[in-house]
């Protein structure tokens, strides 16, 4: 089973200039089982039980720095503390994991992405809205969404 790649594109300068995550963060995936709201922070990625899901972040200005500091599933309170310590450094964290095989398909599992930037004690921007949706095994065989296949 091929992994699902979720690409997070960030307009760092816009985000730091006051744009909302919805305006400056764009999520895409290459799920073969279909996706909703590609290009937005409301991306819903269809994933299969046991499938590997991998998140990567790319700054739109290639020389600016942005990293995923943490990913939290479930409804996190808005004042939740930053999700991870500073060790290991943020640039050496890889966010990937397997979809559990023992939960029911259907309902989306929302998650929050915490983004951080160049400075050690700089701001952390929480991106709310994206979700994983579990689909039954073999759902990718019947998905008719050709556009998301191309991505």
């Amino acid at each position: 089973m091929t992994p699902v790649n979720i690409q997070v594109f960030v307009d760092v300068i816009a985000l730091l200039s006051g744009a909302s995550p919805a305006q400056a963060v764009h999520l895409f995936d290459d799920s073969s089982a279909g996706s909703e709201a590609l290009g937005t922070t409301g991306l819903v990625s269809s994933v299969l039980p046991g499938q590997l899901v991998r998140w990567t972040v790319t700054p739109l200005d290639v020389q600016t720095q942005v990293w995923i500091r943490g990913i939290a599933f479930g409804a996190a309170p808005p004042d939740a503390p930053p999700s991870a310590a500073d060790d290991p450094p943020v640039w050496s964290r890889r966010f990937e994991g397997y979809v559990p095989a023992d939960i029911f398909p259907g309902a989306p599992h929302p998650y929050r992405l915490d983004l951080c930037f160049g400075a050690a004690n700089g701001p952390i921007v929480a991106v709310e809205g994206p979700a994983l949706r579990l689909v039954p095994p073999c759902a990718d065989m019947v998905a008719g969404d050709g556009a998301s296949r191309l991505l």
């Binding site: 720095q65 994991g97 397997y98 979809v99």
Partner: protein
């Protein structure tokens, strides 16, 4: 990760001293990663390599260089875009006048007048190959190529990157073409072998142009000045953001335990 390394050169002082020492200042964009001596000639750029647990590279490391004269036009001004046709326009005007002329004496007079005002026909590009097509002062005024004080307004140019870090295969520099008008279409870039951890030297060869007047004519002689720079390569091992270990685990989807949130 991409390191942007900017060199600021006091061209006038460097020409006067015949030396880049004390006349070059460096800035980069990786202070947060540990780069030090920002704004000084001794700046050390930190390159943060990331490896997979098996030692293979997990992320690219790229260096980009650009050199500016302190008195030069600002880099954001796309001068070649608007101004490149300056001399071509003069040459076209001359050709039109010549085409409308039949008497050899008039042709000679036209050529002499053009030479007086703009230099020899076509000579702008052939006699001074290193100069921009349309030299401008820092205030944007057109400067005659005969003006020796224009030297301070020219950007230095990186013509080679060499030295220990190149010989030992730490960095692999090359001059790349760019569609960006700001850099006149070229920039230096290198990928870094982040397995070569430690402090490494390399040498930037900067070309300055020295104008010398002899017998009424000005010659712009290129001078290559070497300048030593350092990078410090560090490496860390990729860690899974969810498990805190080298390998991925099952995503902490449900139940949404508080303890599982943002696990590391």
């Amino acid at each position: 990760m991409q390191n942007s390394i900017v060199l600021l050169v006091d061209v006038e002082a460097a020409l006067a001293d015949s030396d880049l020492a004390d006349n070059v200042y460096l800035v980069d964009n990786t202070r947060a990663l540990g780069s030090r001596d920002e704004g000084r000639a001794t700046m050390v750029s930190c390159v943060a390599g990331v490896h997979n647990p098996d030692g293979s590279p997990a992320a690219e490391a790229v260096l980009n260089w650009i050199a500016y004269g302190i008195s030069a036009l600002p880099p954001t001004l796309p001068r070649s875009f608007n101004l490149r046709s300056h001399h071509v326009a003069h040459d076209h005007a001359l050709l039109e006048k010549l085409a409308a002329t039949t008497h050899p004496r008039d042709v000679a007079a036209l050529l002499a007048a053009h030479h007086e005002e703009h230099g020899a026909f076509g000579a702008q590009r052939s006699a001074m190959p290193y100069l921009p097509v349309d030299p401008r002062s820092a205030t944007g005024e057109f400067v005659s190529p005969d003006a020796v004080d224009y030297a301070a307004h020219l950007n230095p140019e990186i013509v080679a990157i060499r030295g220990e870090a190149v010989e030992k295969g730490v960095i692999f520099p090359a001059l790349y073409g760019s569609p960006d008008f700001y850099t006149e279409g070229w920039y230096w870039s290198a990928s870094v072998d982040t397995n070569k951890v430690g402090l490494h030297d390399y040498i930037l060869d900067l070309r300055l142009l020295r104008p010398t007047r002899s017998g009424g004519a000005v010659t712009w002689a290129p001078e290559i000045h070497p300048f030593k720079v350092q990078i410090e390569v560090s490496a860390s091992t990729m860690v899974n953001g969810f498990t805190g270990g080298p390998l991925p685990g099952v995503l902490p989807l449900a139940p949404p335990l508080p303890a599982a949130e943002g696990a590391l």
